[in-house]
Structures are given as structure tokens and as C-alpha cells.
Amino acid sequence: MNKAVAELSEEELAAVAFDDAVAAGKTPQAALSQAIADYPAAASFLSDYALSVIAVGAQEASAELTEIESVVMSRADMLLAKRIAPVTGKALRAGILGLAKQQGLTLTALAEALGLGRSVIVKLDRRLIDAATVPASALSRIADAIGAASSDIRAYLALPPTMAAGASYKATDTPATAPEQQAFADAVSTALLSGEMDDASAAAWRK
């Protein structure tokens, strides 16, 4: 779609006017004054809009912001998992090991094919690893190996931790005492320490 015909609200028109004025080189102060002159009914919204744009631009990267961003991604995984759940039934029912089995792969065979520790795969299958900590590249490799879409696997991982997939019929139910999740990199480190993986493989998965 290259064109859209829309009836925009006063706020949207005012925001466009402000953004366009800034893009044209006006200072935020001048842009705000001009936009208010054109859309006086949106004056209160506009002043907060301008303030917010400045506030976003004024904050440099920090550990606090990184933490909030990780919360955003975690909540997104949860919300998107619910939204696309009807088409991820296959992954939700079978789990990672179940999908591997459908590809003719045992746990050991999958671990060897991927160069990933068996304990990591089991933790993923049981959703004992925080989905937000699994790198996109790792997700893609695992999904490819078991014939699934990355989004399906991410949606599966975003559900609450549970028992082994085959033992938990209702995957959306949260156990009374939810098992603790760990970061993907930590799970790989554990597998390295226990001798399930070598240094090179662990380093590759932690990238």
C-alpha cells in the first residue's frame, strides 16, 4: 500500500505538523509554537508530545533503560504468543522435543546436529530459559533443525515455564509454583561446565 486516505484527529494532524516543522529544521520550541497556532485545540497534547520527544532524545543508554527494554520484549513475547496462539498449536502441543521427534530426531541426535548441550535443549523444551534472552540467530538454528518457524518457537518459549511438554497438556496453565527460568547464555555455560559442549560451540551459541 503506497497511499492511505485517512481522516486524522486534531492530535494526529498536530503531531504531523510538529514533526514536519522539526524535520524542516525548526527548533522544537518554534515547531511547538507553530503547531499550536495551527491546532490550538491540541495545545495540551502538543506540549506533552514535544516534551516527550525531547525526553526520549535526552536519555542516553543506561543499565536501567536496558532493563526496561528487556521487559518490553518479554511482555511483547507474551502478548504476541497469545495473539498468534491459534496457529502455533502444533508447536504448543508438541514442544521442541516433540517437533524434533516428528523430524526423526532424538534428543541426542538433535544435540549433536546443533552442537548444543542436551541440557539446554531440555530446558528450552520445558521453557526453563527466559525467551527474551535467546538470541534470534540461536532461535533460527533451532527452528530450522526441527522444521518450525522461529516465531512459533519464540511463542512457545514465551509461555510460562512448565513440566515437560508431553506431561503438561494445557501449556497455557501456570504451575502453582513456577520453576525459575535462567538466561540462555547461563544455560550454555552450565552445559559447557558439565562437558556437554566444547568451548567453540559454547562461544558460537552465546554470540
Partner: protein, 251 residues
């Protein structure tokens, strides 16, 4: 940007996507799902957000919800930084329950509109950041307003006595400089909405508090309140900003 708009009829405007977005859509259309997702998610491609929305809706309309979900996640990665900064600036990033609630509300609202291809949400494919900022900021305003409501009601009743505080010279805030803007943004996160608006209109846009000239736009006319109320808002802003700058604010 201005050239992207064309007047069609009194209440409807036809918006054209930026040429870069149109070119990206033309280049990526027809790719198999897996290759499309790889291209959309590749950092070196840096595909425009409007392009991502276009393909999210195309995949959703085609019933490929796995692909649309993955694109939604890519979009979320693009907005995560802004959303985090907005939540922090509006002092809605703590406690954790409040932050998660606010983030859920923004994301739910955004996803509802991203997955809806009806004309009323078509503007997401033309001006993504205007749409996102408006939704996110309105959630922040409302949530912050709910937290501030009691104090605002008590202090700024039309019948209340006019407050008297020594004015702070606005130029001392130096919000034309990066550090000043950072201080201002943080400080304004501590002001109730009406106070914040009055302060911005006065010290940013230079409007007079009130005017006997009916042809002159004033803060009072823009906000629909009396001149006395405006002055009370400004006094409160001065007092709170001074307290904040001296480190004696309520946080």
C-alpha cells in the same frame, strides 16, 4: 515530509508513503516468507518501520500469522528503546507492576492497530512514529494523570486562593542546551498535566497568561481556565522545579 500530503476533500487527506518505503515494498514483495523475514530483520537492511507494517498486514491477511507475529516482534524491537525512555521520563517505570501494566497497555494498543488493515489505521504505513508516539504518549499522560489527579484536584480548584511564589527566571533553566533539556524533561515528569501544559505554553511558546484583547491567544484561552488558575499553575511549576533542582523534590 510536507510534500507527502495532498488535499483530496475537506475532511479527508490522501497520504503517500515516502519514496524509500515504496521502493522497499516493491523490492521485497514476492519473496518467500523465510527470505522476507530474513530481509526485514537484517540490521544492515534497516528497513523502514512503515515497510514493516505493510508486510505485517500482508502476511496477516494471507493467514501467515507466524510471519506476521515475527514481524510484530521486529517492530517491537524498534520501539523498545523509545517506549523505555517514555516510561522513564513519565516516571512510570517503577514499581515493576506499574511498568509492566503500562507497557502491556501500550503494546496491546499498538498491536491491535498494527494487525488491523482497515482504513482508519492506514496511517501507520505512512507515518509510523507519529502513530506510535501519539498512542504511547496518550497512555503515559492518562496513567500519570491518574496518579496525579488527587493532588491536582485539591490544589487547583478555581475557587482556591492565588498562590504567591518568587518567580524563577526562565532563562536560568537553559533548556536550549542538551543538559538543560535533560533536566527539564526529568523535572517536567514531576508536574501534573495542567501545570506542565501551562509551563510549556509560557516558557516554551511564549504565550501570555491572559489577555483582555479577545483577538490575542493566551494560555487561559488555550486551556479554558481563568488567568488566576494559570498563574497558580505557573507558581506550582516554579515551586516544584525549584525543589527538584535543589534535590528536595518528593522523590
Amino acid at each position: 515530509m510536507n510534500s507527502a500530503t495532498e488535499h483530496v476533500e475537506p475532511d479527508a487527506i490522501e497520504y503517500a508513503a515516502e519514496p524509500r518505503v515504496a521502493a522497499e515494498i516493491a523490492r521485497l514483495s514476492g519473496l518467500p516468507s523465510r527470505r522476507l523475514l530474513a530481509a526485514l530483520g537484517a540490521s544492515d537492511e534497516n528497513v523502514q518501520e512503515e515497510t514493516l507494517v505493510h508486510f505485517l498486514r500482508a502476511c496477516h491477511a494471507a493467514g501467515d500469522s507466524a510471519a506476521s507475529g515475527e514481524i510484530a516482534r521486529i517492530i517491537t524491537g524498534r520501539i523498545a528503546g523509545s517506549l523505555a525512555r517514555l516510561a522513564r521520563a513519565w516516571r512510570l517505570s517503577a514499581p515493576r507492576d506499574l511498568m509492566e501494566d503500562v507497557i502491556d497497555e501500550v503494546l496491546t494498543d499498538v498491536y491491535e492497530q498494527l494487525f488491523d488493515s482497515s482504513p482508519k489505521f492506514a496511517f501507520w504505513e505512512v507515518r509510523f512514529w507519529v502513530c506510535f508516539n501519539r498512542r504511547a504518549i496518550n497512555v503515559m499522560r492518562r496513567r500519570r494523570g491518574e496518579l496525579d489527579q488527587v493532588a491536582a484536584d485539591e490544589e487547583f480548584d478555581e475557587d482556591s486562593e492565588e498562590l504567591h511564589m518568587e518567580s524563577v527566571e526562565p532563562s536560568r533553566l537553559r533548556f536550549d542546551e542538551p543538559m538543560g533539556r535533560a533536566l527539564l524533561a526529568d523535572a517536567l515528569g514531576h508536574l501534573p498535566q495542567e501545570v506542565r501544559t501551562a509551563f510549556m505554553l509560557k516558557h516554551w511558546s511564549g504565550y501570555v497568561e491572559e489577555s483582555s484583547d479577545s483577538g490575542e491567544t493566551s494560555i487561559a484561552t488555550l486551556m479554558g481556565v481563568s488567568g488566576r488558575t494559570v498563574r497558580n499553575y505557573l507558581t506550582r511549576a516554579t515551586r516544584d522545579l525549584a525543589a527538584w533542582r535543589e534535590g528536595t523534590g518528593d522523590e
